[in-house]
């Protein structure tokens, strides 16, 4: 059988930069191919090049034969008879890929109007059917809604509905689940796997997440630095990787990392304690005062927890669960409406008096490695800033101390004069950690520090944190949406949902015997290498 798609020696260049270098692969009808790689590996560019969805100045060479026709040589109008009709595509962030001013129904209908003879009423009927196919409850209401009125998962389903409109032969999915919460991610993956079976859809699935790819695809391509480094059936690649890089990639997956010898929860007196924390944004409006409502938006309803010395507490939850707000209240960026924070047994006021002294003991590390460093300060200046401002060491020793801190986080000394823009994400995150360590803190709060990083870097940063904890006896609060990461790092864990703690306990017992259905759903949604593949 001739393949549906035959890609031969595909290369993409943006000016001098080679984004894709000589990629060759075939896709049989009905097959699903996963392309994995880290950021900058060229996987998304490969996917877009297939349909020539790249800026006009891009240089694409090689050939992409779809049913014997080379897509790279077609004229724009000819290509448009294939785009959306025979090959459809879905993207990473449904929020930005939908037109905010157009109703969902109309956007789903666009391809139908363009490529079929359906008119008026018939189009609308078909839109409703498609929305039903992607399992959107109440398609009629959804079709009339604008994108901002739907949740992320619903928007992604609507995008899929729009892509399926003309019953395409091939669906290109570019990181379709990356922007979604774990549970939603799982349901979208399940939907894609099911559509594949029901509609005999061929698929190319691009993702940085091996687990997600394993759930949907049967073949796998691994890309690194614009090149294809390995290919083969998913199970074979995962169980017996051949290329050095693939081995490293798979070894970095949380499934494969040696789970830590979780120390028995220490029994010492609590070091950091939150008592009945409630946080709300926005004040009372006049209407709230009149009706006696509390007013504002409640981000955290009620949170109690203790962290003992040397322990690592994990806080997990999906977006909007209030976990980041809670972390910020611990360092005084947000003032709790009710409740208090205790440090070393005494009430502490992180946002009020004594905050400077308190912050020497409790430091927060932020999520986005590039954004957390001032773009105008060099590595050296950034780490030296707290040392100088707070006179944490004699002025003459600042540079020596900076070098020492850089060594502790495994940063090469020659990076000292660089600006954040000249560093990699992982290096930036190390600078941020070094800067926090300058205070010699007793508690380190890490807010999603690994989520913006690629898996291999993620594993390295986790190892670094574990090492530091062991060396310095640090107490840590680790916030993440990624349960696999939490499981690896934490002694105990609390699970948050919509501003409330729904479950708490030692990590092992929460993971092995969850008491709440929500916790169970979260755990089930962890993408594993050996997924329950369709």
């Amino acid at each position: 059988m001739t393949p549906l798609l035959k890609v031969c020696d595909l290369s993409v260049r943006f000016g001098q930069t080679v984004a894709v270098d000589g990629v060759t692969f075939d896709l049989a009808r009905g097959a699903a191919l996963g392309i994995v790689g880290e950021s900058g590996s060229g996987k998304s560019v490969t996917c877009r090049a297939l349909m020539r969805l790249l800026p006009p100045a891009t240089n694409i060479s090689g050939s992409v034969e779809f049913e014997g026709r080379d897509l790279l040589n077609l004229s724009e109008p000819e290509l448009n008879t294939i785009r959306g009709k025979r090959i459809a595509m879905i993207f990473q962030s449904p929020a930005s890929h939908l037109d905010p001013l157009m109703r969902i129904g109309e956007q789903v209908a666009e391809a139908l109007v363009e490529h079929t003879d359906l008119k008026g009423r018939a189009v609308w009927e078909e839109v409703l059917r498609l929305l039903d196919v992607v399992r959107i409850p109440d398609p009629d209401r959804c079709a009339r809604a604008y994108p901002h009125q739907l949740s992320g998962g619903m928007k992604q389903r609507a995008m899929i509905a729009g892509a399926l409109a003309c019953q395409p032969d091939l669906l290109l999915a570019d990181e379709p689940t990356t922007a979604l919460d774990a549970t939603v991610q799982k349901s979208v993956l399940d939907l894609l796997a099911q559509l594949r079976r029901e509609q005999n859809l061929s698929m190319i699935f691009v993702s940085h997440d091996l687990g997600a790819v394993a759930r949907v695809c049967d073949d796998l391509l691994v890309m690194r630095r614009a090149k294809l480094v390995e290919r083969g059936p998913v199970t074979r690649v995962i169980d017996a990787p051949q290329h050095e890089y693939t081995k490293q990639l798979i070894a970095s997956h949380p499934d494969r990392l040696a789970s830590r010898q979780v120390a028995a929860v220490s029994q010492g007196a609590p070091l950091l304690e939150a008592q009945g924390i409630q946080i709300r944004y926005g004040g009372k409006s006049l209407a709230d005062v009149l009706t006696g409502r509390e007013g504002g938006f409640v981000a955290v309803k009620h949170a109690d927890f203790v962290v003992r010395p040397g322990e690592t507490l994990g806080i997990v939850g999906e977006s909007g669960s209030g976990k980041t707000t809670l972390a910020r209240s611990l360092v005084g960026l947000v003032k709790p409406h009710k409740g208090e924070v205790l440090f070393d047994g005494a009430p502490a006021d992180p946002s009020g008096r004594g905050r400077v002294a308190y912050l020497r003991d409790v430091q927060l590390i932020y999520q986005h490695p590039y954004e957390a460093l001032s773009p105008r300060l060099t590595v050296q200046a950034a780490i030296a800033e707290p040392l100088r401002r707070h006179r944490l060491c004699p002025a003459a020793e600042v540079l020596r101390r900076v070098a020492e801190l850089m060594a502790q986080v495994d940063l090469a000394p020659d990076l000292a004069k660089r600006l954040p823009g000249q560093l990699s994400g992982g290096q930036c995150q190390r600078v941020a950690i070094a800067r926090a360590l300058a205070f010699n803190p007793r508690v380190l709060i890490a807010d999603e520090v690994t989520s913006a990083l690629d898996v291999t870097l993620q594993a390295q940063v986790m190892d670094l944190l574990l090492k530091l904890q062991k060396e310095r006896g640090l107490t840590m609060v680790f916030i993440s949406h990624d349960l696999a990461v939490i499981r690896r790092l934490c002694n105990s864990v609390i699970v948050m949902r919509a501003g409330e703690i729904v479950e708490a306990g030692p990590t092992a017992s929460v993971f092995d015997a969850p008491q709440q259905a929500y916790t169970r759903a979260l755990i089930d949604a962890i993408p594993h290498l050996h997924g329950d593949a369709a």
Partner: protein, 304 residues
């Protein structure tokens, strides 16, 4: 809701015009009645405008007078300021609307042309013209246009407003053109960058992936999304046009609000200056309200 938000702004605006009045040097009543009036007359008028009362009472008086449409009296013409404004306002309104009508087509054409080929030759030239438009003094340009089209070629009248509606269009063509040359570059710059922003949005990619043609994507997605930021600029532009009218009306001797204001300033006719300033501000507030309403109609994310 929007109307409610305009109330504090209206109060603020009235405080500013009131402050202008209070800060005026000399006794406005003396100016009003002249040096030979009897002390009784002066006292009566001072009482009428509440000038002997404490400042907040004066303000209250000012506001209540405003509410009844009493803006004071012109020192020059001895008629109520409101009457003068009623005479001059329609002329300026005509000029502003005329300018807008002339402005919109070139703005759309130039922005689209310039954005479609970013950094192409057309874009560069339009950009350069924009810089030039920003730097050209309107009153100088107006003079040159009057001399060239009015005197040398004799195509258009160079002063006045005309008596009939076709005559209005003819008389105001050069004033409108002078203002237009100044405003078009500002609008093109905004719309062009809005267009470029929208052209690089992700939903454009979605449209391409659906096989929609370039034209269709532009018309159905890019254009509506680019209108919003430009619409918000519209109120600012009307304010600009009103400000510009002060200058062009003086050059072309158009009997509008701008000319009234300049003449009143030169003649120290303070009540008229204050009144005119207030009316200019009120016009902008009304346009802002209208823009808010229209944005809410276009953009489903905005609740009216």
């Amino acid at each position: 809701m929007r109307l409610l938000q305009a109330v504090p702004v209206l109060f603020g605006v009235s405080i500013i015009t009131f402050a202008l009045m209070v800060a005026t040097p000399g006794d406005p009543i003396r100016l009003l009645v002249g040096d030979h009036a009897s002390p009784e007359t002066v006292a009566a008028l001072r009482d009428q405008y509440g000038l002997d009362a404490p400042i907040h009472v004066q303000y209250l008086k000012y506001i209540t007078n405003l509410a009844t449409g009493d803006l004071g009296k012109s020192l020059r013409y001895r008629v109520p300021v409101s009457q003068l404004i009623a005479q001059h306002y329609p002329v300026t309104l005509f000029l502003v609307l005329y300018t807008i009508v002339l402005t919109l087509p070139p703005v759309f054409a130039l922005s689209v042309w310039s954005a479609k080929r970013q950094n192409g030759p057309a874009d560069q030239i339009i950009r350069l013209l924009g810089v030039l438009g920003l730097a050209v003094p309107v009153f100088w340009l107006a003079l040159l246009l009057a001399r060239f089209f009015g005197v040398t070629l004799g195509w258009f009248p160079v002063s006045g407003f005309g008596a009939t509606i076709p005559a209005h269009f003819l008389h105001l063509f050069l004033p409108a053109l002078s203002t237009m040359i100044w405003v078009v570059p500002i609008l093109v710059r905004t719309l062009r960058s809005a267009l470029l922003d929208e052209m690089n949005r992700d939903y454009v990619l979605t449209g391409m992936a659906k096989g929609l043609g370039e034209r269709q994507i532009f018309r159905k997605h890019i254009l509506p999304n680019s209108i919003l930021p430009t619409l918000n600029l519209f109120a600012v532009i009307v304010a600009y046009l009103l400000g510009g009218s002060v200058i062009v009306e003086t050059v072309y001797a158009v009997p509008g609000m701008g000319k009234l204001m300049v003449e009143s300033i030169l003649a120290r006719d303070y009540f008229v200056v204050q009144g005119a300033t207030l009316v200019f501000a009120m016009t902008t507030i009304l346009v802002m309200l209208a823009v808010d309403v229209v944005s809410a109609l276009i953009d489903p994310r905005v609740t009216p």
